[in-house]
């Protein structure tokens, strides 16, 4: 299965790392779109369908929390699974992101195997 992925992170270095980690984990993607904040992500999402969204939380212009709210409010986007990738693994933050509609959460640091396992769990597929 090849995936169309939208990756949302304000750090170009982290986007590069995630792209590399996905390749190292053996995940095949037909398209890997990048956005540096939630606002850019919404522009991509309204133009290009994707299978999964990987998003950071703390970003300028529109945070990951605001992005989840926007996605949840849009019936065209609500079905897209979202996985949060963040350095923040505190209980309140994780539970709030899941309550806002995220289906998965990965705390940094993470291995390629952890990323693959969480994507597979969220998508309910074996990649």
């Amino acid at each position: 299965m090849t995936l169309r992925v939208l990756m949302v992170d304000d750090s170009p270095a982290m986007r590069h790392f995630i792209r590399r980690t996905m390749a190292l984990s053996g995940i095949e993607f037909s398209e890997l779109l990048e956005a540096s904040n939630g606002r850019e992500a919404l522009v991509h999402l309204r133009r290009t369908p994707v299978d999964i969204i990987l998003t950071d939380i703390n970003m300028p212009a529109m945070s990951g929390e605001e992005l989840l709210r926007e996605i949840d409010a849009d019936c065209e986007l609500r079905h897209i699974p979202t996985l949060v990738i963040s350095t923040d693994a505190t209980e309140l933050r994780v539970s709030r992101m899941l309550a806002l509609g995220a289906q998965g959460y990965i705390a940094k640091p993470f291995t390629p195997e952890m990323l693959r396992a969480e994507i597979e769990r969220v998508l309910q597929v074996c990649l």
Binding site: T87, T90, L92, A107
Partner: protein
């Protein structure tokens, strides 16, 4: 919590370096004062409580080698912008991991800054790491618990 932050600093840094930078720690030495100098410096301001700052300092050569590992690029392909961004990510991950472990029921906000200013204020915990790539210094100051 101050004690927990001090105790967790080295294990958190080690986990981040091993998992995301594919390297390890050869030695770790607690310092009584920050040992910052020329090179790359990145800091993360955290607001919870706890409030405070974590600061990372690495010589340029170490920063370039870590950026190369993190990004999967050949050493000659790494730019100075890459090194600065990776130093910021390093500080961000150290800080997030440290706070998540030391204050798991807190809620905090992180702001990453990349600057070259050595830390002038006293720290609660400073550790000088020696990595295969070179030295790495990490300092944490807690302003409010």
């Amino acid at each position: 919590m101050r004690k927990s932050i001090t105790e967790n600093l080295s294990p958190c840094c080690e986990e981040v370096l091993e998992t995301m930078f594919f390297t390890g720690i050869l030695s770790a030495e607690a310092q009584t004062a920050c040992r910052a100098g020329g090179g790359l410096c990145a800091s993360v301001r955290f607001e919870g409580p706890p409030d405070g700052e974590l600061r990372v300092w690495i010589p340029l050569q170490t920063g370039s080698a870590l950026a190369s590992s993190f990004l999967g690029l050949a050493p000659g392909e790494v730019t100075s912008a890459d090194c600065e961004q990776v130093a910021g990510e390093l500080a961000n991950m150290f800080c997030g991991s440290l706070l998540s472990r030391s204050a798991p029921t807190s809620e905090f906000h992180l702001t990453v800054n990349q600057d070259q200013t050595p830390n002038a204020e006293p720290c609660d915990s400073c550790v000088a790491f020696e990595l295969p790539e070179g030295p790495l210094n990490v300092c944490v100051r807690v302003d409010r618990l």
